[in-house]
C-alpha cells in the first residue's frame, strides 16, 4: 500500500524526464541563434513589426507553425526557406526554447 505513492511518483518523474528529454533547450538555443534570432530576436522579442514575437508563446503552437511552413501548408517565402532546413527534432527544440523565454506575448482574453 505504501509503495503506491512512491511508484506513482517514480512514474511521474520518469514521464517528466522523458518529456523534457524530448526537446533539447540548449540545442534549441544554438539553432535559434543560427537561424531565427536575426529576425525574431535571441529571446523571441522581435523588434520589427514585420516579424512576430514568439518569446513565451506556447511550444505546441510554435511547432505547429514551423511544421506548416515546412510542409508548405502555411505560405511565407521567408519562413518556407528556413523551415525547410529544420528537422522534426530542430522544430521541437526551437519551440521549447522560445516558449521558455521571457514572455514577449501573453494570454489576453
Amino acid at each position: 500500500m505504501r509503495a503506491h505513492p512512491i511508484v506513482a511518483a517514480a512514474a511521474l518523474m520518469t514521464f517528466l524526464l522523458t518529456d523534457a528529454a524530448a526537446a533539447d533547450l540548449a540545442a534549441g538555443k544554438a539553432k535559434a541563434t543560427e537561424v531565427c534570432a536575426a529576425c525574431h530576436g535571441a529571446d523571441g522579442n522581435s523588434q520589427s513589426p514585420d516579424f512576430p514575437r514568439i518569446g513565451g508563446q506556447y511550444p505546441d503552437y510554435l511547432a505547429k507553425a514551423l511544421r506548416d511552413y515546412k510542409a508548405g501548408r502555411r505560405k511565407n517565402p521567408i519562413m518556407a526557406g528556413f523551415a525547410q532546413t529544420l528537422s522534426t527534432q530542430d522544430i521541437d527544440n526551437l519551440a521549447a526554447y522560445y516558449s521558455s523565454q521571457a514572455p514577449a506575448v501573453y494570454f489576453k482574453p
Binding site: 522579442n45 522581435s46 520589427s48 513589426p49 514585420d50 516579424f51 512576430p52 514575437r53 513565451g56 508563446q57 506556447y58 505546441d60 503552437y61 511547432a63 505547429k64 501548408r73 502555411r74 505560405k75 521571457a102 514572455p103 514577449a104 506575448v105 501573453y106 494570454f107 489576453k108 482574453p109
Partner: protein, 156 residues
Amino acid sequence: MTTVTLCVPILVAALVASNAHAQGAPAPASSAPPATVGSAPAPATAAPPAAAAATPAPQAAAAATPVGDPAKGREKTVMCQGCHGIDGWRTAYPEVYRVPKLGGQHEAYLTKALQEYRSGDRTHPSMRGQVAVLSDQDIADLAAYYAQGGVATARK
C-alpha cells in the same frame, strides 16, 4: 464648392477600392484628373489588370489602411473569446495544439494574420470562418486591441 471638396476624397476612395478589386469602377467623373491613372485601362482582359493591380496594391492598401481602435477592438473580441479567451485552450481540429497567445503581439503581424485567414492564404478552418465576416476596420481594431501594451505588459 463644398460638394466638390466632399466629392474628391470620396472619388479617391472609390478609385482605391476599385483598384484593389482589379476591376475598373464605372469611373463616372471624367473630370477627375491625375488620380485616375490606375483605372485608365478599364477594358483590358482579366490577366493583365490582375498583375497590374498586384503592384500598386500595397501602396493603395497602405493609403486606405484603417487605424485600429483598441477600445472598439475589445468589443469585437466576442467571437475570439471562445478559443483565445481561455488560457491554454486547445484546438480540436485539424490538429491539437494550444491556440496562440495574442497579447502584446505586433499589431502589423496580427493584421496580416487576420487578412491572410480572410483571403485563404492561411487555412485554419475555424479562423477562416470567424474572420470571413470581418471588415478591414474590424481587423484593424482587433489587432490594435491585442497588441496594446506590448512587451511591457507581457513582462510586468
